[in-house]
């Protein structure tokens, strides 16, 4: 393990730098200008482009903030020493995520997906364990199938449209002949399946709870953004290609996303209720938040997308905090681990329990924290939808189920805690790692921040949503970006 201190220093400085850089990216997008970078100075659609707009900048920022929390927790609990190459895989994961958020080319998106997946395979299996290997095998196989389907969809789209640049594809679909529309629609839905695997959409979510529940806590926390990559891809690819310009195919995928989102939400709520351990329960809570986001995307209006993005920031950071908190509980309970059995001995139970209550309030969407406002925004955006009654009842009923389940969890774990003197020390958990607990608190602070600064944040997400819906400007900005010449340098 020589040089772990150096690795830690480099890794941590890199994520801090990433936070600063993404803050700069956010301010660079505030003028509504698209920042287009032509790789190899080939103009679109012939070369690969990297595109920075408000949506990309937002995603990169959320990722970097989450990464700081996860990395801090990994370092303070020595998780990164449990196997080789943790920091390299961690940085590669961030590289893949940021690349996926910034690319403007569908095949390049596939490549970045593979980069982030390969890093995630390594991270998921980091630290060994029987259940971890089993869950990892499922995760790898389902994602390999997803990659194959991605290539099939990309192949069809290239065969029909003759381009892979997202902006150019959107422009070509607008003028596509009638007989090609069926093939394009099928390829679009195939892409939806691929992103559904990433986002853990019904019926493709079965890999997700066991993979997230059995991996190490910092990795699970970082993976809170992985499901959002799927959501982002649906917003970016489908929202642009099959946007308002697409004629007959405009938003034809939205009912699928909405319907499957509703089913996912119900099943996730049942999963939260049926979970046998805290980590599994948190994984289902992440699934519920993903389903809520899918509903927001499926509503397909700027107001709904605004709400979705607000809820996305909230749910990613709070889910990360919840995974770390579940690990804190697990470490504190000794032989009881995170199973729902009462009567363990747990040092600092009052502090951990109080933080758990606040996190549960944020996660289940109760006032006064940000989950409540996110859900209110999504529901009020759904008011005009034909499915309003359905959406409201599913969201509210599943919300009630999760609140009840979390209340039960809290009382089972924290109400009957035995004093440390009454049980043998071997059965008692380790005392609280206060340095590691900082990461939990830090990520949880996102919730009050999102409430206090709700006005500027929703102003930003509103501008983002409007920018996404204005896909004509996106197409125009990318296709007209000139190559850099000697004079312009």
């Amino acid at each position: 393990m020589g040089g772990i201190r150096l690795q830690r220093a480099i890794s941590f400085l890199a994520v801090i730098g990433l936070v600063l850089l993404s803050a700069a990216l956010i301010s660079a997008t505030s003028t509504d200008q698209y920042q287009v970078y032509l790789l190899g100075n080939w103009t679109a659609p012939f070369g690969i482009v990297l595109v920075l707009d408000r949506l990309s900048a937002l995603m990169v920022t959320v990722t970097s903030v989450l990464a700081v929390g996860a990395l801090w927790y990994a370092m303070t609990t020595n998780t990164d020493k449990k196997g080789e190459h943790f920091h390299i895989l961690f940085q590669l994961q961030l590289f893949g995520l940021n690349g996926a958020f910034l690319t403007g080319d569908v095949f390049n998106l596939f490549v970045f997906f593979e980069v982030l997946l390969l890093a995630s395979y390594g991270l998921l299996l980091h630290g060994n364990g029987r259940l971890r290997t089993k869950a990892g095998l499922h995760y790898v196989v389902i994602n390999l199938i997803g990659s194959t389907l991605f290539l099939f969809a990309v192949g069809v789209l290239y065969g029909v449209l003759g381009t892979l640049n997202i902006a150019d594809m959107a422009a070509k679909i607008a003028v596509a002949p009638q007989e090609d529309l069926g093939v394009i629609a099928a390829a679009g839905l195939l892409l939806l399946v691929v992103f559904g695997v990433k986002a853990a959409m019904f019926p493709l979510y079965l890999w997700m709870p066991s993979a997230y529940a059995n991996t190490s806590a910092p990795v699970a926390a970082l993976f809170a953004i992985m499901t959002k990559v799927g959501i982002y891809s649906i917003i970016r690819i489908h929202g642009t290609i099959f946007g308002s310009e697409a004629g007959e195919l405009a938003y034809y995928y939205a009912p699928w996303v909405l319907g499957l989102g509703l089913i996912t939400l119900l099943l996730a709520a049942l999963g939260v209720m049926a979970a046998r351990g805290l980590r599994e329960q948190v994984a289902y809570l992440v699934l519920a938040s993903v389903a809520t986001l899918l509903i927001g995307v499926g509503l397909m209006s700027p107001a709904a997308l605004n709400a979705t993005l607000y809820y996305l920031i909230h749910s990613t950071l709070i889910a990360g905090a919840m995974f770390l908190l579940a690990d804190v509980v697990l470490r504190g309970r000794g032989t009881y681990e995170d199973r729902f059995e009462s009567g363990s001995c747990m040092p600092n139970a009052i502090l951990i329990g109080s933080v758990f209550m606040i996190a549960a309030i944020a996660m289940t969407g109760m006032p006064p924290l940000s989950g409540f406002f996110g859900k209110i925004l999504i529901l009020s955006a759904a008011l005009d939808d034909a499915w309003f009654a359905m959406i409201t009842s599913v969201v509210l009923v599943s919300g009630l189920i999760t609140i009840l389940s979390m209340a039960r969890t809290g009382s089972l774990i924290f109400y009957k805690v035995l004093p440390e003197e009454s049980v043998p020390a071997s059965e008692c958990g380790k005392p609280l790692n206060r340095m590691a607990f900082i990461a939990v608190i830090g990520l949880l602070l996102a919730s009050p921040v999102l409430v206090v600064f709700a006005q500027p944040i929703t102003a930003f997400t509103e501008a983002t949503a409007n920018q996404v819906f204005n896909s004509a400007v996106y197409i125009d900005a990318i296709l007209t970006t000139p190559a850099v010449t000697e004079e312009s340098k």
Binding site: Y121, L125, R130, K134, V140, L144, S147, V154, G159
Partner: protein, 121 residues
């Protein structure tokens, strides 16, 4: 040529899907490999099947038709990625075999169910 290629893609995909749905890791790996082959040929054929056409090399040459270079680049990328992923999956399958004690994808103890395997352990 078209029907041969499409038949090959179809057979490879069907076999790949069938094998991927098997319950043991080795057929699953084989199935994923076949699926990767199928998608590679599929991607390649998406540049349209052409015979004897030049690549885009010469700027001055006046050719009405040329073979599309982009799918070839895509296939190269896809081959490399699929190859790497398959290698990783095989190592993972071996690790699972070692840790779970059998090569079932769910790590189940299926020996009690199949009588023919009794006594092998």
């Amino acid at each position: 040529m078209e029907w041969l290629i499409s038949l090959a893609i179809g057979v490879l995909t069907a076999s790949g899907v069938y094998l991927t749905l098997r319950a043991y890791t080795f057929p699953v790996v084989m199935g994923l490999t076949l699926l990767a082959y199928a998608v590679n040929i599929f991607l390649f054929s998406m540049g349209r099947l052409t015979v004897g056409l030049p690549a885009v090399i010469d700027k001055t040459a006046e050719v009405a038709q040329y073979s599309d270079p982009l799918p070839q680049a895509l296939v190269l990328t896809a081959i490399v990625i699929a190859f790497g992923m398959t290698a990783f999956l095989i190592v993972l399958a071996l690790k699972a075999r070692g840790e779970l004690g059998n090569d079932h994808v769910d790590g189940l103890d299926v020996e009690s169910e199949s009588h023919s395997n009794k006594g092998v352990k």
